[in-house]
Assembly symmetry: C2
Homo-oligomer: 331 residues x 2
């Protein structure tokens, strides 16, 4: 295993210390392992809390800041944060207007966020939750009942974050977050396995001539093992199932081509070109774009494609100012 | 070779098409292979042109936009752009105040930018040049006389870009760019080799237990092959030579921890923590930070550390608004 780390057991602690040192706008609770806006709680604003296992950076800690998350809880690598952590983060960002939990659909995350929400409610904090499940690859999976939550989580966090910043109510922000999830579909492909630091060896074997189509962001099996293919063919293998599953209300979409951690920018732009070409042929208009490694699986090489069906409201909230380590514009 | 590409010969063309499709603020000249601000030339503003071999993305095309570059020329992978390309880009962004060429110190780049500058001068465009050579690892190298230009190129582009946006003269912007280079030092480490698409196999062999200290961004040899080490030790191996070579006028620095393409964000933050810890012990105050994969070497795993000695002027220009695909803030 070749990684820029100290002891494998210290990766999450060390990375959180790095985030704290690099970003003075953020405050890290090293005891409870969550990252929050230094100015949280923002009085009268709905607080947004997300989190999950580490290893998907910049999701979630790199998306904390003005216009997006108020706090992110960091579990161990590929392991859900515990209810106490989530409860502490929820308390830390409650500005009196309630807190929205944004949860990726993995059994451990869903249970622990539910428990934290109950505990928060007992202490008088109103909590709503949205469970993100955008991955069309498989119905159930290694750690999931139903579909997995993957890259659309970022879109939910951005758009719900913008709505919260505008002062909308908890019910309104939660409904909007749910709508983003409903209008998003994703699928990914792995060219290589990731390596979990504590394991020290690749999570799965993938021959030099094959790729895993429909990969999960923890290395969970996808739909099928298929021969390595040119980018144009890979794009088709990802776009077809995403489009087939996406209700085509309008034809404006946000296209998000996401790297899985070990894939450089030049390849993501090659993929973007192929995906955009296919969408143009289908009459789908890409109105907004995001290209980069935002929802990763440690050092896995590969990418995912996410489409979000846009309307004017969602587009305006996407465009609204955001100020986080990984996503910044408009201020 | 596992990459998200079509034919290896088409990687640069395809990536440029992706950039054009994803970023409506940018215009790509597919014939001459340069990316420019869609609103270039900006009348009365010094134009900034950079470029070099592809494979270092987002450097340079991802750094074109308001407050930074006006155009970036894309050579083939790890191959300098040709003089005609650079001349075309120079003409396209000349707003009457002259054009600054920002050139990484590799023999091919330096010669080709020089020739383009002469041709531009013959057609009446005033051109100044700065050659970036921040890499303390080696004095001469495979493609370089003198030191190599690496991650400080981004800092030069950002700070000179902000000065140009303020309406400063060509001489003033060029002097500032030179000052940023003079005040910057970098060193990198590779955990794995990159693989050039046209070659199809790793550029060099690196055993599972070793790393290449002082690596160049084309896989050129560094200072030494040393045993793999924990992040804290790697940080020391990079920071010591950088600090030893940096004139410590003031003690405020910008710290840039840069990923080489195959290294995920979580590891960069672990490295950031270790580097920041060492600097604190040395009494060096980190006043600004950048963490991410901006100056890459295709899919190489590893990182580089760059320090820029800051004064108030450089810090203010760093903070100035920038609006590019890879670096955006303040607008």
């Amino acid at each position: 295993m070749k990684k820029l780390i100290n002891h494998p057991a210290d990766v999450v602690r060390d990375a959180l210390a790095g985030i704290a040192a690099a970003h003075p706008d953020l405050t890290v609770d090293h005891e409870q392992r969550f990252v929050r806006r230094a100015d949280a709680p923002v009085a009268g604003k709905v607080g947004l809390v997300s989190g999950g296992g580490s290893g998907h950076e910049p999701l979630h800690a790199g998306l904390v800041g003005h216009g997006m998350l108020d706090a992110a809880c960091a579990g161990e690598v590929f392991t859900s944060p515990v209810p106490d952590q989530i409860l502490a983060a929820t308390r830390a960002v409650d500005g009196g207007a309630g807190v929205l939990h944004i949860v990726k659909n993995y059994t451990g995350d869903v249970l622990n966020f539910e428990m934290a929400a109950e505990l928060a409610a007992e202490s008088g904090i109103e909590v709503a939750s949205v469970v993100v499940d955008d991955d069309v690859a498989v119905q159930d999976s290694l750690y999931t009942a139903g579909r997995r939550g993957v890259a659309a989580t970022l879109l939910v966090e951005k758009i719900a974050g913008a709505a919260a910043e505008q002062g909308r109510s908890l019910a309104a922000v939660a409904a909007l977050a749910q709508r983003v999830d409903d209008c998003s579909r994703s699928m990914g492909v792995a060219l290589t396995s990731c390596t979990v630091p504590a394991a020290g060896t690749p999570t799965f074997d993938l021959p030099e001539t094959e790729m895993e189509l429909g990969i999960g962001i923890h290395g969970e099996p996808g739909r099928s093992r298929v021969p390595l293919a040119p980018a144009a063919e890979i794009a088709r293998l990802l776009v077809d199932p995403v489009l087939a599953d996406l209700d085509r209300g309008g034809d404006d979409v946000l296209l998000f081509v996401n790297g899985l951690g070990g894939t450089p920018s030049i390849e993501l732009y090659v993929m973007y070109k192929e995906v955009a070409t296919l969408l143009a042929k289908e009459g789908v208009h890409v109105a907004r774009s995001l290209v980069g490694s935002y929802v990763t699986s440690l050092d896995m090489a590969g990418c995912s494609v996410t489409l979000l069906r846009l309307d004017d409201e969602l587009a305006a909230l996407w465009d609204a100012p955001v100020q986080t380590p990984a996503l910044r514009w408009g201020r």
